[in-house]
């Protein structure tokens, strides 16, 4: 299980993020077998898009390799940061990765001007799909600049050269500037299912306005029907995931389907799991 983590903040209170992994026992997912001894990828060089962070990361197997798509973080002056999506490859089963190049794999464009992040890479049929978010505006919120972003998609024959769909896949539900993140897509029961998270654009550090997990389905990966009521999970009454639930990732192991997600304070203490009851319909 890949995840992202942060050393303590520097003297100015700023963080850098790294990505790492934990090996879980395949029969008992709550039994930790090992953790990464070092980040899977060092930070980028001076002036590059991932100089100050590699977070989050999504991996996929190819013939001989494991490929990682990740968001790289840089620091800006008028807004706190910008992000772009990079790609790295591992030839040792996913322990260490090397960048395909020093720049991003998916460029900014007229309709996706900044804050491209949260990549999830998938292959359906012979086509590669990258689900991600792209910023549409920076808003001043309570004295801070906060990005508004939406879920987008690109397709590729090889995972390297991408064609953007150039449209928002999921309409906002709770407010016009709703933030959406972590679009995780899988196929089951003849349909495509997307889990993602969403929150209000302001006051989102509170329980009421913080991240929740949303759901949408599609038959063609292009047109999506949002139906959050069917996501099947909400915050708990109390405990590690009572304040918020976010950054969903769905995976299947030995016939069982699991949802990995973050809880309070966007994963400060770790991540949790839920198991699917029954089948997807």
């Amino acid at each position: 299980m890949y995840f992202s983590c942060r050393p303590d903040a520097d003297a100015k209170g700023q963080y850098v993020s790294y990505s790492a992994y934990v090996d879980l026992d395949r029969q008992h997912l709550f039994k930790v077998r090992a953790v990464a001894e070092e980040p899977i990828l060092p930070l980028g060089g001076t002036g590059t898009f991932d100089e100050f962070g590699v977070y989050p990361v999504s991996v996929i197997r190819t013939d001989e390799e494991v490929r990682a798509y990740y968001a790289g973080w840089t620091r800006c002056v008028s807004v706190p940061f910008n992000t772009a999506i990079g790609c790295a490859v591992s030839r040792d089963g996913g322990r260490r990765f090397e960048r395909l190049g020093p720049g991003p794999i998916l460029p900014y464009s007229p309709d996706e001007p900044f804050v491209m992040s949260g990549p999830k890479v998938r292959r359906f049929g012979g086509t590669w799909y990258l689900f991600y978010i792209a910023g549409s505006a920076w808003k001043r919120v309570e004295g801070r600049a906060e990005p508004v972003y939406r879920i987008r998609m690109a397709t590729s024959p090889d995972g390297l050269t991408w064609t953007k769909a150039n449209r928002d896949l999921i309409p906002p539900r709770i407010e016009a500037d709703e933030a959406q993140a972590s679009p995780d897509v899988f196929e089951a029961g003849g349909r495509y299912h997307m889990y993602f998270c969403y929150r209000y654009s302001t006051g989102f550090r509170s329980r009421e306005r913080g991240y929740r997990i949303g759901y949408a389905w599609s038959t063609d990966l292009v047109s999506w029907t949002r139906d959050d009521a069917r996501c099947g999970i909400d915050v708990s009454e109390e405990g590690w995931d009572a304040q918020m639930i976010s950054y969903p990732h769905v995976f299947t192991v030995d016939g069982r389907t699991y949802l990995a997600y973050l809880g309070n304070e966007v994963g400060r203490g770790g991540f949790g799991l839920a198991a699917l009851d029954g089948a997807f319909d």
Binding site: G45, T46, G47, T48, F49, E51, F52, T74, R75, C76, V77, S78, V79, N82, A84, C87, L100, G101, P102, G103, P104, I105, P107, Y108, S109, P110, D111, E112, P113, F114, V115, G135, A137, W138, R140, A145, P147
Partner: protein
């Protein structure tokens, strides 16, 4: 190729702009109108924090560049929104007539923390002969990619046989910041093509013009024109450090030629355009732009101090 110098044809001290800080007319680029030549350039304002911000303006000149007819009363394109690639200025802008409108390929600047800036190339469109431009989207049409990791800038666009060609520069290195000194950048000339001028395919890291000063040479502002049966490219080049203050390390104008738009042969000696001692271009020559008007080919360029006082011109001898 012989050029006759026409001198400092636009002197800001004689024709001050009604906005900005009163300094800089950088990277002049021409749009030929029926009765005049509209020459766009970037001028600067000074921010409260002391930093410069570049705006695109223009001067209208007689078609033989012999007189100034007027200057822009305001920037032709508004400042970019919070967090956008061109929030902290546009420098330069290349203009191109296409399909009844004017395309402006802008280089947008935004400030960074570990290095001074990042740049990208945007598209803005004018429907009033260049008096005003509107952005085609908030983001760039050309920006950093896998093997062109930062500082994509200085787009120059031509349509040749129905295909859009862009020559531009991309960064190859930011030096580590020294004690009390900001990191310095190295950039090289690249090439991309497009069917519509909006969606571009890069050659992705291919450096199309050979270095003359070694691998640290910085190459900037390519422009391509035809002369005889060949394509010619002018650009400027400099040493990576010391270029602001040491005339021996500052910008000079370089030259390359091609017969196929793929392979370029560098041959700076083709262009004998040295600075004139004691004159406005004695220490530096930079930001070349070639255009043709009523059968005559002109070169616009900046001189000392990157164009602080205006721009000059030269005329290609027949």
């Amino acid at each position: 190729m012989r050029w006759t110098k026409l001198g400092l044809v636009f002197d800001l001290r004689a024709h001050p702009l009604p906005f900005g800080s009163g300094g800089f007319a950088q990277s002049p680029q021409a749009l030929v109108l029926d009765d005049r030549v509209r020459i766009f350039f970037s001028t600067r304002s000074r921010e409260p924090d002391g930093l410069y911000l570049s705006h695109v303006a223009f001067v209208d000149m007689r078609k033989d560049l012999s007189a100034v007819l007027g200057v822009a009363h305001r920037p032709v394109i508004a400042a970019g929104d919070l967090g956008t690639f061109d929030e902290h200025g546009i420098f330069p802008m290349n203009v191109l007539r296409h399909d009844g409108v004017v395309y402006g390929y802008t280089t947008g600047w935004s400030r960074r923390v570990s290095v001074p800036v990042e740049t990208g190339i945007g598209l803005a469109v004018s429907r009033d002969e260049g008096l005003s431009f509107e952005r085609h989207g908030a983001g760039p049409v050309l920006s950093a990619t896998l093997n062109e990791p930062f500082l994509v800038a200085d787009g120059f666009v031509r349509v040749i046989d129905g295909l859009f060609h862009m020559w531009y520069i991309f960064g190859t290195a930011w030096s580590a910041a020294g004690a009390g000194a900001a990191p310095e950048r190295v950039y090289k000339i690249g090439h991309a093509t497009s069917a519509d001028g909006i969606a571009w395919t890069k050659e992705e890291g291919r450096r199309i013009v050979a270095d003359r000063l070694g691998p640290e040479e910085a190459q900037a502002l390519p422009c391509v024109f035809d002369s005889g049966t060949r394509r010619h490219m002018l650009f400027c080049y400099r040493e990576p450090v010391g270029f602001r203050t040491d005339p021996g390390r500052g910008y000079r104008i370089g030259h390359a030629w091609s017969d196929d738009l793929v392979d370029w042969t560098r041959d700076d000696a083709v262009l004998p355009l040295a600075g004139t001692p004691g004159e406005w271009d004695a220490d530096m020559q930079c930001y070349p732009h070639v255009f043709t008007c009523e059968g005559t080919t002109y070169l616009l360029y900046n001189g000392n101090a990157f164009g602080r006082f205006g721009f000059g011109a030269a005329r290609l001898d027949p």
